[in-house]
Amino acid sequence: MQPPLANARRSTVLSLIVVATAVVFAATFFVNQAYQLERVHLGRTWFEKGEQSLSARQPDAAAEAFRTALVYSPNNPQYELRLAQALARAGREREATAYFLGLLQQEPGDGLINLEVARLSARAHDVAAAMRYFHAAIYGAWSEDATTRRRTARFELIEFLLAEHADTQARSELISLTDDLPRDGSTVLKVAGMFLAAQDYDDALRMFEKALALGVKSRDVYSGAGTAAYQAGRYRDASNYLGKAGLAGADSQIVRMLETANAVLRLDPFEPGLRQNERARRAARSLAIAGNRLQTCTSGPMGETGSLAGLAQEWKTSTRRANLSALTRHPELVDSTMDLVFRIEHGTQDCAMPTPEDAALSLINRRRTASPQ
């Protein structure tokens, strides 16, 4: 062992150490600067390669490139987001979810990230999670065009809910959507279609009529309005709109709806404002239709089963008693006659495909039952 240094010599050596530290520090600084610049450059290069791959619809290659970019620029949220999006597009949902959740940890209120996670949850058919993230996206922060982005996110949510048959939630979202809907025919029409799919026929009809008012007059609009009106029990409107849609080349369902709506309008004796003779005529006509239905069913495979035999007997009795003249003179006979008609239609609902008039009679009965007496 060498003898210890004198105090002065130690101070000199210590001073040299300080100088050496400063020199090494400076050298390291310059080396590090060059190193960091190179890393940023490499990160940028690989990021651009990733963007090119995404544009060329090569999400796997894009993911690899973005992942490489992250090696050189770790914790770069833009790179991470693009990597997650590329993974999602490549169908690698588990990996994408992991990155998106990590990004969410840093930016829990970001609209885009929440939307991406919502889409992944939707693909996994996780309704609760999807709703949560879609809502976070709708109410989250968007860097640009926030109103449109939020509306788009809500549209996506509604489409998802409809696909999952979550009609109640879908209706709720649709109502929120209509609060600030732009006066744009195509958007209104889209919303109308969604209301229809969600079985909210009143609102659907309202939207279709709004679209018509905005000048969107096409077969689809009329068909949609007619369908909504039909499903809502507004057969006059249904007949009007379906008629305007035109039968030529129309869907068979539309044709049948029109025929049925027209039949309701022709046959419903309970329509307000009718004169007694018209009521009687309609009741007699309905009875005749019911009789035809009975004949069709009793001659078929069902034959004269117990219940149908009873109904047939009742029908015979009724036709003798409730002729047109009796129906006109005795208004109370209309109700009892129509009761029989409805019972016949209900009893024969399984025997054969009902005619539009038979379907109309069922709808008249449903409307009569639903409306307050």
Binding site: P4, R10, V24, T97
Partner: protein
């Protein structure tokens, strides 16, 4: 003399002497002060060295392998092979002391070479390890950083001509600086060096290591940023019942640790015994084999693997692939390390742990989907498990996981799994890996684990019941002699508290009696030296320090100092060691 005279220092004979103002004197550095100041500079220089080291590794990787995450297939095989040959040649011909991880070399500096680590070793380690790791060998940068820091510290200590004791301690302080900067984890670095290198801590050691660690981490973060080596996903631990799942991880991790250490223990000696001309080829062959593994579909095993750990923590791999990667990493690291390639085992340990943790977590979730812990959480705990089981640093492993994750909620799973792994590994492989490596290198370094396990011998282990009379110091010579003769004792203990205790022999009392001093107090005839009473829990060393001053020492109760609970003599101590030579805790 008036003031004016005083100012000119007038003498009685009238001659004056001008007053010389006091000269500026340099501050007196005691060695203790110097040591602490030096620790800061060691930390700064160690941090700068580690920053340059990491840049060198990255530069080597990008230059040799290209910047792509997955290099071209030909490079996968060619680069590690050629670089291995170059590194092997450098190690054999130019830098022979650069071989190995660096931990044992630092211990050897402390216990064998009086703190001496040649600076050339630091340069050699820097160059060869950067080439090796950047070239794809399955090793990590932390251990070399530890040795580089130690070498820098050793150089500074020698230049300042510190005392031998300080010079021995300076190397571990530099090691702490290097490890702290490499890990970006100062607490873990301090704990590891104290736990595995120094084996004990005093206020001086602790203060210096903390100063060095803090300085180096500050420097490293200033240059490289404070982001961790790999990003930790949100940690989830909700139900205590899930501790069972983590216990399984501890058991699996223990088995993996045993396999890992036995593989190294098995392969290293025959490779070392091979002819000298094969030594430069071994890293090249290891590189070739690792390249083939990478070519076959697992390029993730190359290098330190931090980006792969990051991906594993973010659920980018299936649990089956994670398990495969863990096994392949054990194989590749065994090949790299046993071939003599300079580089460390910390990063591979963390890699294996993360992969294994993710694999076990993934498998458990497949069978028990209600488990709430994410793959990332299991991977994080897995890293600690391997650290505890393979490196046998249980305290460091716990703090490392906490420090890296920054989340205390993970503490329970970490405690359970790390402790389980450590205890199982201790039973299955009694010799820790670093002790094994030092034995294979022919160095008899103290085992820190053995030291921890060695029971502290205490006074109560050697003392015997009080079997001689106890006389008050003011007892007369006559009375004292009578008491001794009654029991037939050859000596008595004399209680002269608060001054202390002493002994008196029969012959001394008889001599006093013969001199007519019958009524004199025993106090007057004994030697003036006094010994303190011992307590039963005192270490034996305390008894040995004072035993020469008295043939027997009293042992008194801590709560009741008046109560004498036993006696202890040198014969008692020797008998204790003879009867229980290898007592462990």
């Amino acid at each position: 003399m008036n003031h004016e005279d005083a100012a000119t220092n007038v003498h009685a004979n009238g001659n004056s002497r001008p007053i010389v103002p006091p000269r500026f004197s340099l501050p007196k550095f005691t060695e203790e002060h110097l040591f602490l100041i030096l620790a800061i500079f060691i930390g700064i220089l160690g941090g700068l060295a580690v920053v340059c080291f990491r840049i060198a590794i990255d530069f080597a990787r990008v230059t040799l392998m290209g910047s792509a995450l997955h290099p071209f297939p030909t490079r996968l095989i060619l680069v590690p092979t050629v670089v291995g040959l170059v590194v092997g040649t450098l190690v054999v011909v130019v830098f022979p002391r650069a071989r190995g991880s660096g931990v044992n070399q630092t211990k050897a500096a402390l216990y064998i070479y009086d703190g001496f680590i040649p600076f050339r070793t630091a340069i050699g380690k820097f160059v060869t390890a950067a080439l090796a790791i950047g070239g794809g060998q399955s090793l990590g940068p932390e251990d070399p950083s530890l040795q580089i820091g130690a070498a820098i510290a050793s150089l500074l200590g020698r230049k300042l001509r510190l005392s031998r004791d300080r010079l021995r301690l300076i190397a571990p302080i530099g090691a702490t600086a290097g490890l702290a900067a490499a890990f970006n984890a100062p607490i873990s670095a301090v704990l590891f060096v104290i736990e595995e290198v120094v084996g004990r801590w005093t206020a001086g050691i602790f203060g210096a290591t903390v100063l060095a660690a803090v300085s180096s981490v500050v420097v490293a973060r200033w240059f490289l940023g404070s982001e961790p080596l790999f990003r930790i996903p949100p940690v989830e631990f909700i139900r205590p019942a899930e501790l069972l799942a983590y216990a399984v991880l501890g058991i699996v991790g223990a088995i993996a640790s045993v396999v890992f250490s036995r593989a190294i223990a098995w392969l290293r000696p025959p490779l070392k015994r091979m002819p000298r001309w094969t030594q430069p080829l071994q890293p090249g062959i290891a590189g070739l084999l690792i390249g083939l593994i990478a070519y076959a579909g697992a390029p993730q095993v190359m290098g330190a693997g931090y980006d792969v750990i990051d991906q594993a923590m973010h659920g980018q791999f299936t649990w089956q692939l994670l398990g495969i990667l863990a096994g392949l990493k054990i194989l590749s690291t065994t090949l790299s390390f046993t071939s003599g390639t300079p580089g460390g085992m910390f990063a591979p340990t963390l890699f294996v742990g993360a992969m294994l943790g993710g694999a076990v977590g993934g498998a458990e979730r497949a069978f028990f989907p209600h488990l709430t812990g994410s793959i990332g959480t299991y991977a994080l705990v897995g890293m600690g498990v391997l650290f505890a089981g393979f490196l046998r640093a249980p305290m460091t492993s716990i703090f490392m996981v906490l420090e890296v994750s920054g989340d205390y909620s993970i503490i329970l799973p970490v405690l359970v799994s790390n402790t389980l792994a450590y205890l199982i590994c201790r039973n299955l492989t009694p010799v820790p890996i670093f002790d094994l490596l030092s034995k294979q290198d022919g160095l008899e370094l103290p085992s820190m684990e053995e030291q921890r396990e060695t029971a502290i011998r205490r006074v109560e282990d050697a003392m015997r019941p009080v079997d001689i009379p106890v006389l008050d110091a003011h007892t007369t010579v006559a009375d004292g002699l009578r008491e001794l003769e009654q029991v037939g004792a050859g000596m008595a203990l004399v209680d002269d508290r608060p001054s202390g205790w002493t002994t008196v022999s029969v012959s001394a009392l008889e001599h006093a009696l013969d001199a007519g001093r019958t009524s004199v107090a025993v106090l007057e005839v004994v030697s003036p030296a006094r010994v303190p009473g011992l307590h039963p829990d005192h270490p034996i060393e305390k008894a040995l320090l004072t035993i020469s001053d008295a043939p027997v020492l009293p042992v008194v109760h801590r709560a009741e100092p008046q109560q004498l609970v036993g006696l202890i003599s040198l014969q008692d101590i020797l008998r204790m060691y003879q009867e229980n030579p290898n007592e462990s805790a």
